[in-house]
Symmetry: C2
Subunit: 270 residues, 2 copies
């Protein structure tokens, strides 16, 4: 399979018009595609064996050796490489100073049933996550700690939005990503191995370092402003809290997930 290389210079080109709409969630859903900007993320994708369906290159887009490798591999994988103008990159990215590369990728549709939970010792689970920066940061942290992926419960921000993709620093391509309802997640979890650990500041919570975690550990964090619903926390195998020495009663959701994930990882490497 070999892809094509073409050139687009017209701002009114139909493909450009279509791809710029991917900045909106409903168009991403309709197309099953999302947009990732910059050589760095595209290179992370490439190293994970994921290639864009379309790769837009600005005037200096192919100057870097990594960009040349990306072009070659994208075409070898059947994608289309499009040499284009800075104005078109601006239009695609919605920015005055766009990156020199924009990749259009297929959204991988992953389900709980498709996950091999024993493939990784840690999984992150977030409930109604609202902030795309937090979502991307959790993916990035998951990659760092050797997690298998991120399970999003309920109505979360779109993981394929530009800001979440950017904050993931490429981990959107290496971490499994599942969107599920709690009603489906809990039976799935109980159908196999796995410990559900809720970050929860209740009276029955124990210090997060006082627990010996069993793999696979599912680390559950709640919505940024409301935390977890009480029944979610109650359904967990254990409820844990980090010491909070100051006035604040909670950590940022992505920070809480990271502090927990590193504790689980640190126990495993002792």
């Amino acid at each position: 399979m070999t892809g094509r290389r073409s050139q687009i210079e017209s701002l009114s080109n139909p493909l450009v018009k279509r791809m710029r709409l991917l900045r909106e969630k409903r168009h991403r859903r309709a197309e099953g595609l999302f947009l990732a900007e910059g050589l760095r993320i595209a290179t992370e994708a490439r190293e994970a064996g994921v290639f864009p369906a379309w790769l837009f290159l600005g005037p200096d887009g192919a100057a870097h050796p990594l960009a040349q490798a990306l072009v070659a591999d994208t075409m070898a994988a059947g994608g289309e490489v499009i040499d284009t103008t800075a104005a078109i990159l601006s239009k695609l990215s919605g920015k005055d100073n766009p990156q020199t590369i924009v990749g259009i990728y297929a959204e991988p549709a992953t389900t709980l049933a498709a996950i091999d939970r024993n493939a990784a010792p840690i999984w992150l689970v977030a409930e109604r996550l609202r902030d795309p920066g937090n979502l991307g940061t959790m993916l990035r942290t998951g990659d760092a700690v050797g997690a298998g992926g991120l399970i999003l419960l309920g109505d979360s921000t779109d993981p394929y939005g530009v800001e979440a993709v950017r904050a993931s620093m490429g981990a959107i391509f290496t971490q499994r990503l599942v969107q599920a309802r709690w009603d489906a997640f809990l039976p799935w979890l109980r159908s196999g191995q796995g410990e559900l650990v809720a970050t929860w500041l209740g009276d029955d919570s124990v210090d997060y370092q006082a627990v010996r975690y069993a793999a696979p550990t599912f680390i559950l964090v709640g919505n940024e402003s409301q935390g977890l619903p009480a029944d979610y926390a109650a359904a967990a195998d254990v409820r844990v809290k980090m010491p909070m020495l100051g006035k604040a009663d909670s950590l940022n959701a992505a920070v809480a997930a990271a502090v927990m994930a590193y504790e689980v990882l640190n126990q495993r490497r002792r």
Copy 2:
């Protein structure tokens, strides 16, 4: 000292016009004031003994008992409480659905010389931090781990911007905040006790759990996209790294600071 309570209903009121400009950095600098939205943050400020110079209350702004306490304490501290309309709160906050409370606070001007480094075992230090969400999150983490404050080196995003203040969840009022140049910071650091710990993925970095940290520990994290300059890392007492098991070569800056800060805290509570 007792403050005033007044009413403003005109969108063209001069005070409203002046205060809405505080969403811009140059006006914050000129006025020495910043804007914090919402009862939750204003209550954190109040609990830290910090009261607004002006407190704008929407139609339902004083309904909550905490808001009533805030009104009383603001006036007792000499501030002005202003009953106003939803339209004016929208104008102040720049949002269609504003919070019912907007406080205008004085920016505390803190210098290195004014810091008592031995007042806290942990200090966070960030270099050219660009993202206001990261900055606010670091303040929030600092509060949680009992840090003394955040020292911003070089040209960072404005800590008094609305997004940073919001992400701090009130920790902007409990953490000391200093903006300094590296050239001033390093001699100040060396003029007293303190260990400078750089997060750095170099060959001479050691595992972050292999070090026994000495108080006060200054945790240094670098710019989001470029990391620390090599000479900053070289000047540190120790360079540490977290395990990175995946494809990514770094953590989000606020996450790195938090994982480090909890390690230092955990060692202290053993």
